[in-house]
């Protein structure tokens, strides 16, 4: 047991180190640097906004004149002390920048996960119950076709319909700027109002996966002996499905959902851009455009850590749900 734990920690640290290295070197391999901004309109056209001296001064200031491996060690050293560095474009500590934007992403990701899991499980169950009937086939075909639409395209369509034409939802932002709220409820309502479309878009991207997984596992589970046992006991279809079948079928869904949260954090970039939602994805995009190395590193690290944490949590939750996996 102890040995297991040690090897686990070792593996965890190793993974982290690899991630850190990639986070560090990859952005630096892109053309350009923080002090020469690339115009988004004319690709590759560099507009020098600083004089050469200024540039050198800043490069020295951020320690970028040293060899890269040395910079990496300094980065690791600071990191160990809990210092993520300073954002070049925001001119403030990276952590503070992340702290502002991360909650928004977490908000929409969690909501989207909950929504897609909920709807996916319900649809999957309905489909599995009507297996081999036309309603199941219809539903499945629809779901699969739906999954083919890329989420940013879907986001754009939703944006056009609901924000531009119908004007039901805001075009951008996470809250109404300069709003004064009458109370917490009021504020919550405003937040949900802004988050609604990004959440819907994100959940649609995940829905088909959950649906298919639920449907297929349920079909496998319902052919198991214990379902026959439960039926034989005359418990009624409701208990048979809800207590006996679903509980088993949800195990893989839980695993998937957990992994999904981590993946969605990264995947939110596109959706956030479409809705100009000030989450971590948007920030990452800006940081990449501005070659804000410390910020890029910081965000990537946070994303990587959140994926790792999700996976760990999934393991733990699974152990709680499935008594067969020994704790």
């Amino acid at each position: 047991m102890k040995k297991d734990r040690n090897s686990f920690i070792f593996r965890f640290l190793l993974t982290l180190l690899v991630i850190l290295a990639i986070n560090f070197f990859l952005p630096r391999m892109m053309p350009g640097d923080p002090f020469s901004t690339t115009s988004a309109d004319v690709a590759g056209d560099e507009i020098i906004v600083m004089t050469e001296e200024q540039r050198e001064y800043y490069i020295g200031y951020y320690g970028m004149d040293k060899p890269q491996y040395e910079q990496f060690f300094i980065y690791l050293k600071n990191l160990a002390a809990g210092d993520l560095g300073k954002s070049i474009s925001y001119k403030m500590p990276v952590w503070s920048v992340i702290k502002i934007h991360l909650p928004w992403t977490i908000l929409i990701v969690l909501c989207a996960t909950a929504l897609s899991t909920f709807i996916g499980v319900i649809f999957g169950t309905i489909s599995a119950k009507n297996r081999k009937k036309s309603s199941d086939r219809f539903m499945m075909a629809g779901m699969i076709a739906f999954a083919e639409i890329p989420s940013f395209l879907l986001g754009l369509i939703l944006l056009l319909i609901f924000c531009v034409y119908l004007r039901m939802f805001p075009l951008a932002g996470a809250v109404t700027p300069f709003a004064v709220y009458g109370g917490v409820l009021d504020q919550a309502w405003d937040i949900m109002y802004h988050a609604f479309l990004p959440v819907v878009t994100l959940s649609f991207a995940q829905l088909t996966g959950v649906y298919l997984l639920t449907r297929n596992t349920l079909i496998t589970v319902t052919s198991k002996d214990y379902i026959r046992t439960a039926r034989g006991k005359g418990l009624g279809e409701k208990i048979v499905w809800n207590r006996h079948a679903l509980r088993n079928a949800l195990l893989p869904v839980v695993t998937r959902t957990g992994f999904m949260i981590g993946m969605m954090m990264g995947g939110a970039v596109l959706v956030e851009s479409v809705f100009s939602y000030p989450g971590i994805g948007m920030t990452l995009r800006a940081a990449v455009v501005g070659r804000d190395y410390p910020l890029i590193q910081g965000i990537l690290l946070v994303l990587a850590v959140s994926i790792l944490v999700c996976n760990l949590t999934v393991d733990k939750v699974y152990q709680m749900l499935d008594p067969r996996v020994s704790v």
Partner: protein, 577 residues
């Protein structure tokens, strides 16, 4: 009162256009308080019946016929209506398996569940009752909070039993309850079931391939073969004198019933896919006639004790019947020796009857008479319903052949192996020269001798005793006998050779399905191969019966002596008394 009756039940599994008739026209009635056993090999359709009674067959099964419970037809009810009967009226102990219990719900919960649903108990009441049930079935109540994977096979079986008993059903179905159990638990479960039955008067259907178990609890039994009942009746009757060839084969391959006998299964395979026209057992049956492959026999009453059997020929037929045979030798000193004194016996199709007795008890004379070699001074021998004709049945196929004790006298030393074996064909002018040669080669293969040219040309005189006895056997087999009389065929051989010859003989008999009269003075050896034993003493048959019964509880005083006279190999040190 009838609690459950099944009427012409058919369950056909339909998969991708092919139909498997798991249950094919079965009817039976079960009376209140009765224990009804259903036995059969795996795949015979036993479990399908159980599932249909519970209404649990999957959707791809076409069901015909009726299941009537307490006067109400339940087979056509919807799932919801059937729930009213499930567990409260009819409960089942499912066949033990890793996934028969829900892996993520603890065992106690799974047992209490139906009580809460059907009896309206509260959680606490149900749990209390569950504890009692666990105790009753021999499980510690601390296991209630465990999950199925933490239980051993035996414990799971008990939990399943506790679960089935939870709502005190009126009819309890037990599907292969002993298959996962060791001998001790098996006995415990059996005792538990019998107690339960006595106390609570459950009606039970016990389904198993384990005939010993079923026969030790059930009062009535049905033997199933490929979706049909081939024989049914009171347990004792069916087990001691099975009438259908299949039930006999099944019972004879049960080690607990024939403790001493070597195990020989029923030759052939049960399930071959495809449909068998006529009697499903016909491909394996040794006594089939043309009618058997044309139409399926119906289950008809035979006798008046509720016994029924499905066979065109009314069950196992007698191959040879002898009545009141007498033979007396005139000795030179004017005295006479009554060698055979009023012997009557019959040999059934496909069975091995051993005639045991001391030297001089008249066994050999009897053998000669039965084979038609000697004529009895009085009495009649019938073979396949016809009186034994003067020329005997040795000269034709499907007749009677005899192999003698002494291989040296039955196969002349001056004959080559080929000539010795094909002599009967030559004499009876059967086949062309090539056909005869082929037949010789075939039978040589049967008796595990080489069929090479060099061996065929050997003189019998050059062979060892064992080889020569095999040649004698081959000579008999070439006439494809329906009945083989083996007269002390191993007594002239050494132990190892005689063991080989005996195994060979029994193997042949089993595969070829001929009947055999095995004459011997060696009781131990006899028990290895015999189905029935006739004990002879001074010309009379003093006792006949099931080999096992005769051995374990000899009723005749002479038999007792014979049984007691075995010295036996004693491996313990003798203790001073």
């Amino acid at each position: 009162m009838t609690i459950l009756s099944i009427e012409d039940l058919k369950c056909h599994y339909v998969t991708d256009g092919s139909v498997v008739k798991a249950v094919d026209g079965i009817s039976f009635d079960i009376y209140e308080g009765e224990i009804f056993g259903i036995v059969g090999e795996s795949g015979s359709g036993k479990t399908t019946i159980a599932l249909e009674i519970m209404g649990l067959l999957p959707e791809n099964v076409n069901i015909y016929g009726e299941v009537v419970y307490n006067g109400k037809t339940i087979s056509n009810l919807s799932g919801e209506e059937r729930d009213k009967f499930r567990w409260k009226d009819i409960a089942i102990v499912f066949q033990n398996g890793l996934e028969v219990l829900n892996p993520v719900i603890n065992v106690g919960r799974q047992v209490t569940e139906p009580m809460i649903k059907h009896l309206g108990l509260s959680h606490e009441e149900a749990e209390k009752r569950c504890m009692e049930l666990f105790e009753m079935t021999g499980l510690d109540s601390s296991w209630m909070s465990s999950y199925p994977h933490q239980l051993s096979g035996g414990m799971r079986q008990r939990a399943l039993l506790a679960m089935a008993l939870s709502c005190s059903p009126k009819l309890l179905i037990l599907d292969e309850v002993t298959s996962a159990l060791d001998a001790f638990s098996r006995k415990e479960i059996r005792d538990l079931l019998l107690n339960l039955q006595k106390e609570c008067c459950y009606t039970m259907i016990v389904i198993s391939h384990d005939i010993t178990f079923v026969s030790s609890v059930a009062s009535k039994i049905a033997v199933m073969y490929m979706g049909k009942i081939v024989e049914t009746g009171p347990v004792r009757d069916v087990i001691t004198s099975p009438r259908h060839p299949y039930s006999r084969g099944l019972i004879h391959s049960t080690p607990d019933i024939f403790i001493y006998k070597d195990m020989w299964g029923i030759p052939g395979d049960g399930f071959m896919g495809g449909e068998i026209p006529g009697c499903p057992f016909s491909p394996r049956c040794t006594q089939k006639t043309d009618a058997c492959t044309k139409s399926a026999p119906l289950l008809c009453a035979c006798g008046n004790n509720g016994r029924k059997i499905a066979c065109h020929r009314g069950g196992i037929v007698s191959l040879l019947e002898a009545g009141d045979l007498k033979f007396c030798y005139q000795l030179p000193d004017k005295k006479s020796l009554q060698a055979v004194d009023g012997v009557s016996l019959d040999v059934k199709e496909g069975e091995v009857l051993a005639v045991v007795g001391q030297t001089g008890s008249g066994k050999s004379t009897l053998a000669h008479i039965l084979a038609g070699v000697m004529k009895p001074q009085s009495g009649e021998v019938y073979f396949m319903g016809e009186p034994l004709c003067p020329e005997g049945y040795g000269s034709r196929f499907n007749g009677i052949q005899i192999v003698f004790q002494d291989p040296f006298s039955s196969t002349s030393s001056r004959f080559t192996v080929l000539d010795a074996i094909k002599e009967p064909l030559d004499i009876n002018k059967i086949g062309t020269k090539d056909e005869r040669l082929n037949m010789v080669k075939d039978v040589l293969g049967l008796v595990r001798l080489s069929s090479e040219e060099s061996f065929l040309k050997k003189y019998c005189g050059e062979l060892s005793g064992g080889q020569r006895q095999r040649v004698a056997l081959a000579r008999a087999m070439i006439m494809r006998p329906k009945l083989l009389i083996a007269d002390e065929i191993t007594s002239a051989l050494d132990v190892s050779t005689s063991a080989n010859v005996l195994r060979l003989l029994k193997g042949l008999q089993n595969r070829r399905g001929f009947a055999m009269i095995y004459i011997s003075h060696d009781l131990t050896l006899t028990l290895k191969i015999a189905d029935r034993i006739a004990v002879m003493n001074s010309g009379k048959v003093v006792e006949t019966g099931n080999a096992h019964d005769v051995m374990l509880s000899p009723s005749d005083e002479y038999t007792q002596r014979l049984v007691g006279s075995r010295i036996g190999l004693c491996c313990h040190t003798h203790e001073a008394a």
